[in-house]
Structures are given as C-alpha cells and as structure tokens.
C-alpha cells in the first residue's frame, strides 16, 4: 500500500483516521503541526494535545513527528484574519489554514520527505467521477460535515488526499476510538477559531480582546435606513450582518437587524428582517473544482449554514429565494448534490442603501 503521512491533531477524528489507515494496510507516519501557542505552550496546539497525539501514535505503533509551522500559520492565517477584520470583513481562518498550511505547506513537506499520500481527520469524502475527476463531498455525518472548509482543494491535492473518517458518523468514530482504547475517545471537539482561547461565559469577548490587542477597534454610529442615528458601537469589527442582539439602540421595541456595515464610513445600518436578505452575492474569486456547473446548484455561505438553491452568473451568485446577506470574507461553497463543485470568498454586499444619503460620521468617531 501507500506511504501515508497522517496529520494527527491530538483529537479523536485524526486518531481514528490513523487507525483506519493502518487497518487498510498503509505504511503510516503521524505528524502533529505546532501552529500556535508560542513559548507558553497553552491553548491550542498545546503540549497536552501533542502529548495525546504522541500517545495515540505510540498505541498504534507508528512514528510520530512534530512540525513547527507557527511562522507560516502566523503569516497566512492569523495576520490575514486580523487584517480582514480591520478591513471590515468576516474571515474564516479554518479555510485559510487548510488552503495555506494543511494542504499547501504540509503537502510540500510531505512530498519532499517522500510520502505518497496525506490523510487528515476531516469529516468529508472524496468522490471520483467516471472521467477520473475528483470532488470533495459531504461527510457521512451531516452535523459534523467539513466539506465546506475544504472547497479550495484542486485535482492534484485531491489525488493525494485520504479522508478516512468521512464515511462514518461521529458517534461511530468515538466508538472505534473507544474499541481501540485510544485516549482521545472522549475528548471534546475542537473549537471554531483554534487560536483564540475562549473562557467560559465570555462569548465574543475573547475575539474582541484578541483583535483589540492587534488593531485599533473602530467606533461606529448605528443608523436606520433613513440615516437617523439610533446609537453607537465601540467596535464595528464585532458587528455582523443579520445581527439582532447586542446592539444598544435605546428605547425602541421594534426588532432591528443589521442590514449594512459600511466600515469605511464607520456606519452600521439597521432595519427590518427583510432588509437583511438579498438575492445576489458577489464572489469575485469564485473558482470551480473542474468544469463549471449550471443546473442544480446549491450554495452554503457559512460553516454550518443551510445550503440554498442558486444559479451562478459569472462571479455573481443569484439565490433562487431571498437569502441572508453574506458577510464579506466568508467562504461561499457551491454544491451539486453532496459534491463540492466550486467556491470562493464573498465580496462586499452590493449596497441597497444609497451611501450618499447616509450622514458622514463626525471626526470624533473615526
């Protein structure tokens, strides 16, 4: 069989992925990526995660290495994440980590070291068409599906990738881990943004603190669609399209939703639920995994969002029915059935409010 390098995070999915590969007869070597945590070794990529990975590898009887990709992670994931917020976008760092670290840096490293294939513990599958074209497809466990964050994989990457746990329910994965006596069997799932350490009850505070240490958070005024000022926020970066809670708008009892975020002019527009919907989303860097597809497409616009019917005109997605506006910076992934056929990053929403009618922010707000 093949010489496979499995990315072992210290979690249950990659542990079972490694076990399945061994069972399939591959020659398996494990690697844990040290991406974050610096000298303190706390939070994600912590010593205890590496320790779990090392012990799992030992239990499975395979070699285990640690690669420090911290500098690449900082350059390609963390810095762009912060810059995106500073530019008024809502980035998805997992997508960038997959794009630049796991499926670029690690692939190149694996090639140089002579491995045939790479495996990860992602919940997604790889399908092969009659003509040999490969596609990422939804994982068997719909609730844990990670095909969304793998949409950027091209044919050469898909040809060298194995996703052994994609065919299983998460419950079954844990069962397998437990049957094998792996110490990660009951380990909690990883958090969404691994490099921001969340403390219980803090909610978005952790992200705000993380960003606040790196960029000046921008105060903004909150206005209605007529331009009447309703309140202010101390950080426009923390406001999301469609958001209802957490805005201090004083008295009014009406339900108000964020319908526009004009980062440049430090203005948040709120309005009715209907104003949070759109029929078009721009995806300037839209790419297809092989040939463009015209019929039967659905699109997913956030990690666990529902997929909705869509047609694609150039780089514009036209939703079949009004769809919640997509925050700039989010990945939009195109599916044909359960297969990923394309994707890209959403651009700024097409303004539905005439910006010229909005009041200019006063100097003390910018």
């Amino acid at each position: 069989m093949a010489d496979v390098l499995v990315a072992l995070s210290g979690g249950v999915d990659s542990s079972v992925a490694a076990a399945l590969l061994i069972e399939q007869g591959h020659q398996v070597t494990a690697v844990t990526l040290k991406l974050w945590g610096g000298e303190t070794d706390s939070g994600c990529c912590s010593v205890s995660d590496v320790e779990d990975a090392r012990r799992v590898a030992q239990q499975l009887g395979i070699d285990h290495h640690v690669f420090n990709f911290g500098e690449d992670f900082d350059r390609h994931v963390v810095a762009p994440y912060v810059e995106a917020y500073a530019a008024g976008q809502t980035p998805n760092p997992c997508v960038e980590c997959n794009r630049h670290i796991k499926f670029d840096k690690l692939f190149r490293r694996a090639d140089a070291l002579g491995f045939d294939l790479i495996a990860t513990g992602h919940h997604a599958q790889i399908t092969e068409l009659d003509d040999g074209t490969r596609r990422i497809a939804r994982g068997a466990d719909v609730g844990k599906d990670q095909s969304y964050v793998l949409h950027m994989l091209d044919q050469s990457q898909l040809a060298r990738l194995l996703l052994p746990v994609g065919a299983f329910d998460k419950g079954r994965v844990r069962e397998l881990a437990s049957e094998l006596g792996l110490r990660t069997a009951d380990k909690a799932d990883s958090q969404d943004v691994c490099f921001i350490e969340r403390s219980p009850g803090r909610g978005d505070g952790a992200r705000k603190a993380f960003l606040g240490e790196r960029i000046p958070l921008k105060p903004a005024r909150i206005v209605d669609s007529e331009g009447t000022e309703l309140g202010t926020t101390d950080s426009i970066e923390m406001v999301t399209i469609g958001q209802r809670k957490g805005l201090d708008l004083g008295g009014g009892t009406d339900r108000r939703y964020v319908t526009e975020i004009d980062h440049e002019n430090a203005t948040v527009v709120v309005g009715d639920l209907a104003d949070t919907m759109t029929t078009r989303t721009e995806v300037p860097d839209l790419t297809w995994s092989s040939e463009p597809v015209s019929d039967g497409l659905t699109a997913q616009s956030a990690a666990h969002a529902k997929r909705m019917p869509v047609t694609v005109v150039g780089t514009t997605l036209v939703w079949a029915e009004p769809h919640p506006k997509v925050a700039a910076g989010q990945s939009v992934v195109l599916y044909l059935g359960d297969d990923v056929v394309g994707g890209g990053i959403a651009g700024q929403e097409l303004a539905s409010v005439d910006a010229a009618r909005l009041p200019r922010p006063s100097a003390d707000l910018t």
Partner: protein, 384 residues
C-alpha cells in the same frame, strides 16, 4: 545501525558509570544521612564521589553541591546569588547566548542580557557597561551548547571583578567538562554548574561548585543535606556514576580532543565540499568558523531548506542529529543563540548541529558525510 551525532544533547552512559551504579541500586541503597552501617556505606560512596568530582573540577570536596542536574545548578546559582545579595534591588547579568536554564531566571528576575559579537563571543564592552554595584551575579557559559563557541573566562572575570565588586561570578560549564580543564579555565569563578549526562553519566544528576568564601541561599530547603545548600536525599547511585564518568572523561580529555577535532574537521569539510559542489558555495554556512570553539560541534546552516525536514530525512538514514533547541512539544523553535549572533532567521531555519563525543566513530562521520548532502540536495530540489 544508528549513527549518533547528538552528543551535545546527551551522551551514552559510560559502561564504567553503569557498573558503579547498578550494585548501588541493588545492594548499596542506604540513605547516606542515616546512622547504621548501610547508611554509612552510602555516605562513604558520597564522600568518595565528592572527592572525585573535586579532583575533576579543581575545587575542594566541600565546595561541591550535588543537584538534580545542570538546570537546577544554574537556577540555584542565579536565584541563590540574588537572594544572598547584601543590599536592595540586586541585578543578575548574563550573556544573550546562555542556555535557558540561566537566561530564563535572569530575565524572570528582571536582569540584564549582554549581547554577543557575530562570532558568538560576549561583547566585553557591553559587559562592562552593564555592570555596577547592584549586580549580584554575572553568568557567562564556558561553551555554548548550540554552536560550541568558547568564552574568554579570564577576561570576563577581570572585568566583572573591577566593575561589579559585589557580584558573584557564575559559569554554566555543562558543555565544557569533556573539552576544557575547568580547574584552570574557571579558577576565578565563584560558581560552576555541571551536568552528568553530558559526559557519560546518567540524567538527573549534576553539581554546582560553590567556593568556600561564597554565601549562597538554598533554593531547595529540607533535611540540611549538602551543608544546607540543597535539601533532599542525595541520588547516591547517580552521583557515584557521575563521579566515575567525570574521572574517565578527564583522564582521556586530551586524547579525545585531538581525535574528535580531526573527525569534526573532516565532517565539516566533507559536507561543505559536497553541498558546495552540488549547489554552490552560498548554499552552506559554517557557524563559528572564525570563533574559538570546542572540538566536538559542527554547526552548519543550509540555505533554502528547513531543518525539521532535514532532521526527518537524516533520521530515515539512521543519522541522529539536532537543529536549534526544541521546545517541550518536540517542535523546532527559532534559536535565540543564532539570533544573538546576528544570523537572519531565514538562515537559522536551515541550521544543523552535528555533535561528537567519546563514543563517536569514523563510521558515524562517514554516515553523516553521505546523508547530509543528499538530504540537503533533495530538499533544495523539492522545497519543504
């Protein structure tokens, strides 16, 4: 067959050390602080070991404080000196290329870090400028663990005595015993740290030389062992093994230095020739080429590759080596030593340390000369 070229990380335990250790673990297990004859027997072993260590280090037996390794000895020196300082706001001073066992306590205590020159030798002007009456301890290592650069201890001592009259002088000699006569080189130092596993002894044993004239507050208080300078029942078997290893090491030091220097030079020349031929002279840089170094370390930086990948390929060829210091997770971390010597981090990324020791053979050198250029060529071609 494994080719072990990582003696600076740790050495194989000498068989004479193991021979001393095993019967002590099996039969000679008395507590040296006790009163009965088994205890007294253990205490005799301790006395003998202390005398042997004193001979190897050129100090009096009573000046040896046994510790659980080099890091503990270094910590005892720095924190002990700060706590013993006669006055307020004591300051610790060390060089920028110290091992973290010294650097971290110095930085942690708000001390001063003195830069080194491009050749890795401490900047004596900067050292002088960092000194004053508040300095409680100055710590400069004899031999650097990554690049093998040797520091001018006598000059350092002279400067410190003149400009920091209240300071204790400490040297981390953990990498030094195999190559340098500490009795001579560190004669004017108040405190000297050593670690057994760097010269054929077991891990978890070390010592701090504390000169008779020196007051040093203990870090580990307890049963009053080591004249109250380090509490805790002594690791008798480990200490005896360390003494045996030190005695053997000192006895063969001159011969090993000559033998290993020739091997090290052949190793560097062989790798540099191969890599330069394949990829050009700029593809490899010999760290410390213009510095005073010990005979055992070959430190090289290869252009355009990453040492993690290099070490992986070397291991596949049964060549055990190391790069910068690795952190507790086992991941490679950028080297503070190379940074202090002014090497750009892109150069340090391709660093490799091959270190020889008493157990090294010509076959080890041959294996490295074959494996390193091949791995470098592959990584330069494939990227990593």
């Amino acid at each position: 067959m494994v080719h072990y070229l990582d003696h600076a990380a740790t050495t194989p335990v000498r068989s004479d050390a193991i021979d001393v250790m095993v019967p002590l673990l099996r039969e000679g297990y008395g507590n040296p602080s006790g009163a009965h004859r088994m205890a007294r027997a253990a205490n005799v072993v301790l006395d003998d070991s202390r005398e042997a260590m004193a001979t190897a280090l050129g100090c009096a037996p009573g000046e040896i404080v046994f510790t659980a390794g080099g890091t503990e000895a270094d910590n005892l020196a720095v924190y002990g000196a700060l706590e013993s300082f006669d006055g307020t706001d004591p300051v610790a001073v060390c060089s920028a290329i110290e091992h973290n066992a010294v650097l971290d306590p110095v930085v942690h205590s708000g001390g001063r870090v003195v830069p080194v020159l491009a050749n890795g030798v401490i900047d004596l002007e900067a050292l002088r400028a960092s000194l004053d009456d508040q300095v409680a301890i100055v710590s400069v290592m004899v031999v650097n663990n990554e690049v093998g650069v040797v520091q001018p201890l006598a000059e350092i001592a002279e400067i410190v005595r003149e400009h920091a009259p209240n300071a204790l002088l400490h040297t981390d000699a953990v990498q030094a015993l195999c190559w340098i006569d500490l009795a001579e080189a560190a004669s004017s130092f108040d405190l000297i740290s050593i670690s057994a596993h760097k010269f054929g002894g077991p891990k978890g044993v070390g010592a701090l030389v504390v000169r008779d004239r020196t007051t040093l507050e203990p870090r580990v208080r307890g049963g009053g062992q080591e004249r109250g300078r380090r509490g805790g029942t002594q690791n008798v078997a480990g200490i005896a093994a360390m003494a045996a290893a030190a005695t053997a090491t000192v006895a063969e030091r001159d011969a090993q230095c000559a033998r290993l220097e020739a091997m090290r030079d052949r190793l560097i020349a062989g790798i540099v020739a191969e890599v330069s031929t394949a990829s050009g002279a700029d593809a490899v840089h010999v760290t410390g080429a213009d510095s005073p170094t010990t005979p055992n370390i070959a430190h090289l930086c290869f252009d355009g590759i990453e040492n993690e990948a290099l070490l992986f390929l070397l291991e596949k060829n049964d060549v055990m080596a190391s790069a910068a210091s690795s952190c507790s997770s086992g991941a490679m971390e950028p080297s503070h030593v190379l940074a202090a010597m002014g090497l750009p981090s892109s150069v340090g990324l391709g660093s490799l340390r091959l270190s020889l020791g008493y157990a090294s053979t010509e076959a080890d050198v041959d294996a490295a000369i074959a494996a390193v250029p091949a791995a470098v060529a592959r990584l330069r071609e494939m990227g990593s």
